[in-house]
């Protein structure tokens, strides 16, 4: 299906795509600029897109600016990955009511409006597929995630501009969306190339009766995406030695070095499209007869994450940073068959002190090679 010939959607015809989505009862959520960053929010139409805006990202730095260009999807991404639409930061799970000695338990199933997510980057599509493995394809399927996931139509945007923090090319997740999208767009000056990734996507695009892109046009698209990949300055090296390579450096002094810089603020885990840790809390009403059990995002950087009664398994920041990096890049592979990193670069950008996981991995693994070959 993904091999089908892409079609040309002129920017002037974009409202027709929006109409087609509406005709299929989708609300449209797209990138919007708010509080100096890009966020996901409902949009009424093209006019709500951050046209002409661009971001620059560096470790520890994020800046938005208006440019002379008329690019629609000029901002690569913001701190919000799309995970907050399916793995929501606060999910009510159950209502538990008690009357005398009778206890009634009612699941609080979400009833999401069907949502077309417009402008999802390849890295975030890959992140969504990672979450599908965790929440849907494991031993227990999470019905709350399932309901939200089923309501989603993913319209990806292939990247033609990368940041210094991006390394999707080395992770094999981008800059072109690989799979898991319904439609994928590549932006040109006056039009988009649209690729169909699913039957749901096909049904929408068929309504528009668009012309096919010529082979020359398709080549041009590939060149732009290739150039984006080639421009990426970072990469995750030594992947072939994972997961084992990282298990072996458990005692490496680098963990202490990075712990001196790390603030254990948990930003990296909040912005990461794949981190899934959560905690469950009971929120009783004042009379203690009605209780809501909610799921909230958690992070392995909190002191409680490794705590049991009378003991903390990861008392130091070095322990927690090692937990994070080792889980992301190594044990995740054992657990779910894929890396926990999709190379979006958010954890570099949104780290207040600019810690770069590619650099940390490199330092840990390189010095291990040095040690191993005296």
């Amino acid at each position: 299906m993904t091999n089908a010939i892409p079609q040309i959607l002129p920017k002037s015809g974009f409202p027709r795509l929006i109409e087609a989505l509406r005709a299929h009862h989708y609300r449209i959520v797209g990138p919007v600029v708010r509080d100096g960053a890009l966020h996901w929010d409902e949009i009424a139409g093209v006019e709500d897109l951050p046209i002409g805006w661009q971001d620059t990202q560096q470790p520890g730095q994020y800046r938005l600016e208006r440019t002379e260009t008329t690019t629609w999807f000029g901002i690569v991404h913001g701190p919000d990955s799309i995970k907050r639409l399916t793995f929501v930061p606060r999910e009510p799970l159950l209502t538990i009511e008690r009357k005398a000695k009778k206890v009634t338990v009612t699941p609080q199933m979400p009833e999401p409006t069907p949502t077309a997510l417009l402008g999802v980057r390849a890295c975030d599509v890959a992140g969504l597929l990672v979450h599908d493995r965790i929440f849907l394809q494991g031993r227990y399927a999470d019905p709350y995630y399932q309901v939200r996931r089923d309501a989603l139509l993913v319209i990806a945007v292939n990247c033609t501009r990368a940041h210094k923090t991006c390394f999707c090319a080395s992770m094999g997740t981008g800059p072109r969306a690989q799979s898991g999208y319904d439609l994928a767009l590549t932006e040109f000056e006056d039009e988009f190339l649209v690729s169909v990734g699913s039957e749901k996507g096909r049904e929408i695009i068929e309504l528009l009766e668009l012309p096919s892109a010529s082979p020359a046009y398709q080549r041009q698209e590939q060149e732009r995406i290739d150039a984006c990949a080639a421009s990426q300055v970072r990469g995750l090296q030594e992947q072939h030695r994972l997961p084992q390579g990282l298990y072996e450096v458990h005692e490496h002094p680098r963990w202490e070095t990075v712990a001196h810089r790390c603030l254990a603020c948990a930003n990296c885990t909040m912005v990461c499209p794949t981190c899934f840790c959560h905690t469950v809390e009971d929120h009783p009403d004042l009379s203690h007869t009605r209780n809501e059990r909610v799921r909230l995002w958690d992070s392995c950087f909190t002191p409680q994450h490794g705590m049991i009664h009378g003991k903390n398994f990861r008392p130091t920041i070095a322990d927690r940073y090692r937990m994070w990096l080792t889980h992301k890049l190594a044990s995740w592979i054992d657990q779910f068959g894929v890396s926990g990193c999709v190379g979006c670069g958010r954890c570099l950008t949104w780290c207040p002190v600019g810690i770069d996981l590619t650099e940390e991995l490199h330092a840990l693994m390189r010095e291990n090679v040095d040690q191993a070959t005296p």
Binding site: V103, P107, C300, F313, D319
Partner: protein
């Protein structure tokens, strides 16, 4: 590998269960016998020794507690609970007739099938290893199916020994040896003094026909397993019960990770050869 039938397709759903019996074992330990209120759920509930339930107190929270009753009588769910913190202290105040929430059973239990026909060496250290007590009871109820049972139990101080009568009862059984030790001496303590690993020198084990079940601090287990390996026991016949923070019990919340494993579903009982690289390592 799915060990037992889970009763719901919404794994977060809790099922009300009534406390039908309650026994105060010690000032900070209670035994609760729970019966699921819904007859259909009750009939479908099956578990293995070493598996656990998530017990809920409405408005307070959920905790992982092993099921220690007999799996052949799955309509009764016995739990031995040490009252240590926020949730367990509230559980400790509940009376007979009150209602708790149950999700479960979860996790991989003890190798009761693999151990059948073998001698079993049970080693426990530290405070109340409830999960291993369930396994011992299981074997005594089917005594002829297992070889010699040797129980080595270590405590820090003599006051930490609970279930003294149960150890005495087991000691009196044929084909059974019980060794107790305390790190510190005490007036009423007429057993060994020293750490539990010292007891190994007193027990004879046949490496070719022994299965080991162990529970306690990881450092203690590491030392103990080292000694046993040295005596020729096979790592794939030794099992340990492990503990990490647990919140969901279903491999989704991320808290119970130990290296590549989620102890809530790959454990809490793990075969030694799988977990050895991580056992007792700092920061794991």
């Amino acid at each position: 590998m799915m060990l037992a039938t889970t009763v719901s397709s919404n794994p977060f759903l809790i099922y009300p269960a009534t406390i039908v019996a309650r026994r105060q074992e010690a000032p900070d330990i209670v035994n609760l016998r729970l019966v699921l209120n819904d007859p259909l759920v009750r009939r479908r509930f099956r578990f293995h020794p070493g598996q656990f339930n998530m017990l809920s107190v409405m408005g307070v929270g959920e905790v992982a507690i092993s099921i220690v009753s007999d799996p052949d009588e799955p309509e009764w769910l016995d739990h031995t609970i040490r009252l240590v913190g926020r949730v367990t202290r509230v559980i400790g105040r509940l009376e007979k007739g009150e209602v708790l929430g149950i999700r479960g059973p979860f996790g991989q239990g003890w190798p009761m099938d693999a151990a059948r026909g073998y001698d079993v060496l049970v080693v426990t250290g530290g405070l109340g290893c409830a999960p291993v007590m369930g396994a011992i009871d299981y074997m005594f109820r089917r005594r002829s199916e297992y070889g010699t049972i040797k129980i080595l139990h270590g405590v820090k101080t003599p006051q930490d020994l609970i279930y003294r009568e149960r150890f005495d009862e087991w000691r009196s059984q044929p084909n059974t040896e019980v060794y107790l030790t305390s790190d510190e001496p005490g007036k009423t303590w007429h057993y060994h003094i020293g750490v539990v690993t010292e007891l190994f020198d007193r027990v004879a084990v046949d490496p070719d026909r022994t299965v080991v079940m162990m529970c306690g601090p990881e450092i203690m287990m590491r030392v103990a397993l080292g000694k046993l390996t040295h005596r020729g026991l096979r790592p794939d016949r030794m099992y340990v019960s492990l503990e990490r923070r647990m919140e969901c019990g279903i491999g989704l919340c991320g808290h119970c990770q130990m290296g590549p494993y989620f102890l809530c579903h790959d454990g809490p009982v793990m075969r030694l050869d799988r977990i050895l690289p991580w056992l007792g390592k700092r920061g794991i």
